[in-house]
């Protein structure tokens, strides 16, 4: 089953807990509003991998400032077009090496989720209640069924699923080799906001290989249940709504395909934020990071105009806020 959805729109608009939208109006110390509009480049849909895109439509839309505009409604497959399979996620036992395991992040650092790492979580987090493995067999406790993964992927994790490595298979929600389709609205010509916009709790954008770029993972809730929501090498994992989605950018590490640098050595582009500004990798070809990023992690240059640079793969974020208006309504 491939479920077509407009998840980014639905989730952003429906969840009562959202801090995005109205609350952003209280921001007063905006840095991005000083950026001149001449630094804006239109969204280039040709940069998307054709295998990742189901459809691209040009539609009328309303921006978050109330202005009418034109947007691209881009429907992506939800399966990374540069890969044939996902994972690894949880290690199977305490001897599992990095090559057969996924990732976990903590306070800015991305770790190999090896068996050894899991077996030392009590030391890592300074709490003896961590016990994700069978002390006799060394087997890691993994949510290896749809029922168990969904039972563990909720705030009130049942007792029997605490101290588990949580992983959900994409095949629970889509056919083998396919993803959960999502449609994203991107303003064709981005418009700078007067004050920066909050990320909220939904997706922040879409990758050029057809995957949701998610907001920060609620790691405090995950850890409070003594669970690890394992990522693969691309800092992605699966949930029942978005399917496979990313929580960080880790191109070129392990089984995660690299993204080519720009011709001038600038970091490579890998996606677009919901405000239509492009997102590039954190580092340039010399391994250096820009020193003039604004609060949203954006900067301007003559080649790319205003654009974002992703945070590090272990930082649980891509960008800090939206410098541009997002599309908050549509006629699709």
């Amino acid at each position: 089953m491939t479920k077509a959805s407009i998840s980014s729109l639905i989730i952003t608009g429906s969840l009562a807990f959202s801090g995005c939208g109205g609350s952003s109006e209280t921001i007063t110390d905006d840095e991005t509003s000083e950026t001149p509009s001449t630094d804006i480049l239109a969204v280039d849909t040709t940069l998307f991998d054709s295998a990742a895109v189901v459809s691209v439509e040009t539609i009328d839309c309303t921006l978050s400032n109330g202005d009418d505009s034109s947007c691209y409604a881009i429907t992506v497959t939800g399966f990374p077009s540069d890969r044939t399979e996902l994972g690894h996620f949880c290690p199977t036992d305490i001897n599992t090496e990095a090559e057969s395991a996924g990732k976990w992040f903590d306070d800015g650092v991305l770790y190999d989720l090896t068996g050894e790492f899991v077996s030392n979580l009590d030391l890592f987090y300074g709490n003896s209640e961590w016990q994700l493995f069978d002390a006799d067999t060394g087997e890691i406790f993994i949510t290896d069924t749809q029922v168990s993964c969904e039972a563990a992927a909720r705030p009130d994790v049942a007792e029997e699923y605490q101290n588990h490595c949580v992983q959900c298979e994409l095949t629970y929600y889509a056919d083998e080799g396919q993803g959960v389709e999502s449609t994203f609205l991107l303003p064709i010509n981005p418009v700078f906001r007067e004050t920066s916009g909050d990320i909220g709790m939904s997706n922040i954008g879409v990758s050029l290989n057809g995957v949701n770029l998610a907001a920060a993972a609620p790691t405090q809730a995950i850890l409070s249940a003594f669970t690890i929501a394992a990522f693969d090498d691309c800092v992605g994992h699966v949930n029942p709504i978005d399917g496979y989605h990313y929580h960080g950018a880790n191109h070129g590490d392990g089984e995660c395909p690299a993204v080519e640098f720009e011709a001038d050595g600038h970091a490579g582009i890998f996606g677009y934020a919901l405000d239509g500004f492009a997102i590039y990798g954190m580092l340039d070809e010399n391994g250096e990071e820009a020193t003039d990023l604004d609060e949203c992690r954006g900067q301007t240059d003559e080649v790319r105009g205003y654009h974002y640079h992703s945070a590090g793969p272990g930082e649980n974020a891509f960008i800090g806020c939206f410098s541009g208006e997002t599309a908050n309504s549509t006629d699709i």
Binding site: F124, N127, M201, P218, L223
Partner: protein
Amino acid sequence: MNTFSKIVVIVFSGLINAIAQAHNGHGDELPWQACSTSEKNTPCEYTNSHGDIYQGNCKLFGEALMCVRNKPIVRANMSKMLTPIKLDNSNQGTK
């Protein structure tokens, strides 16, 4: 979207739960703790267990503020003022 689906999304995709944490020391609380008493958009900083310094601004994710870095990471070996903590079980970064 049914209630259960919303709950799952909350856990995996975005809402920052305000559940108090029992974990001490090394923990992903640091980016959140750095902004726990701050206002949105104010500068923030935290030092992780490796001694690396992250500097940025407090940004809103769901209902909670998290420190989002916008300055290059100050690595521990670049700062003689800090002594990184050695964790026997750590395996930072790349394979």
